[in-house]
Amino acid sequence: MSIFSYLLPKKQSTASVAKERLQIIVARERSTRGGPDYLPQLQEELLQVVRKYVPVDQDAVNIQLDRESGCEILELNITLPEG
């Protein structure tokens, strides 16, 4: 998790926030369009595996799909409870 984004708050224009959000959601929706609809299921199953060991809730999971020079990066963040 990028802790620096909290420590160094930068003032971002609302348009660039909009663009970032759109890029993420559109990439996610495209990946589930037409082809195998695996992303939500993947998320659910991964969550079940983690839950075998640590109690986490649905909100603790964050999936992001990014594009970088021709390849797509699927980023899955699961915030584990403290202690």
Partner: protein
């Protein structure tokens, strides 16, 4: 050879009907015999934008059901030659639009009326009316506002166009879909308050047909029932004229995408 063009967006209120009216009028002004069809069954509105609401006798569903033939149902525009309007029905029966029925209407417009262009004004959403408007299309114009929900819905619609048209189903590939960005405000883009043309293009990744600025002329035109493209002095009217030229293959630069910084003298003496 008749070309069928769908004007679509997914989201409502972004300017599909305004664009359909402008595109059809622009094509007719250039001498192409053009019909614009309102596919929004239940919520007829194209007639108001075209200024022919009091001349509606028969509608799209009447033609599909055989209550009227295409010649009886087409309304000939009073201002522009070569321009015809086929209004939507106000029936609430959503099953009134059948694939065979719509195909029959297109065949009549092609064979009996010798149309050059058929412009299909799609309803909002991704329900039957929108799918029927898109199914037979040879080409699509995707109308989008520089705003998150509109861009997302447009992307959805581009996906549907890629799989749910007759051309796609017959394995002839995607139909060409081009982006028309409407209600654009270069001032707000410059302040970082609005997605830029480049941002929207990058996300949707389709060719840009035109940018129509946010303009008072659009409301004035709809108030008067005269397509905004006929308001040749207005920014929106000129933007639509440019878009029609590009639609027909002209390569002209985009206007109204940057803030006009001219002072009073520049406005008086500048071109």
């Amino acid at each position: 050879m008749t070309k069928i063009v769908v004007v679509t967006s997914g989201k409502g209120g972004v300017g599909k009907t305004t664009t359909s009216a402008a595109l059809a009028t622009g094509l007719a002004l250039r001498g192409f015999k053009t019909t614009v069809i309102d596919f929004d069954v239940g919520l007829r509105n194209l007639d108001l934008i075209m200024g022919c609401e009091r001349r509606v006798v028969y509608d799209l569903v009447n033609v599909i059901n055989g209550d009227a033939n295409i010649k009886q149902a087409l309304i000939k525009d009073k201002k522009v030659d070569n321009l015809f309007i086929l209004p939507a029905s106000q029936t609430r029966d959503k099953d009134a639009l059948t694939q065979e029925g719509v195909e029959g209407v297109f065949n009549a417009l092609r064979n009996d009326m010798q149309m050059d262009y058929i412009i299909c004004d799609s309803p909002a959403g991704i329900e039957k009316g929108a799918l029927m408007a898109a199914y037979f299309a040879d080409e699509a114009v995707v109308v989008t506002n520089p705003e998150v929900s509109s861009v997302r819905d447009s992307d959805r619609m581009i996906g549907i166009l890629a799989s749910k048209t007759r051309h796609a189903e017959q394995g002839e590939g995607d139909i060409p879909a081009r982006l028309l960005l409407t209600r654009y405000s270069p001032e707000r883009v410059e302040k970082g308050e609005m997605l830029s043309v480049e941002d929207v293009q990058e996300i949707l990744a389709i060719e840009l047909l035109g940018v129509v600025p946010e303009s008072q002329a659009v409301l004035n035109a709809s108030n008067a029932g005269s397509p905004v493209i006929l308001d040749i002095d207005s920014d929106a009217g000129q933007a639509y004229s440019d878009a029609v030229a590009r639609f027909l293959g002209d390569n002209i630069p985009h206007r109204f995408t940057t803030v006009n910084k001219k002072g009073l003298l520049g406005r008086l003496f500048g071109g």
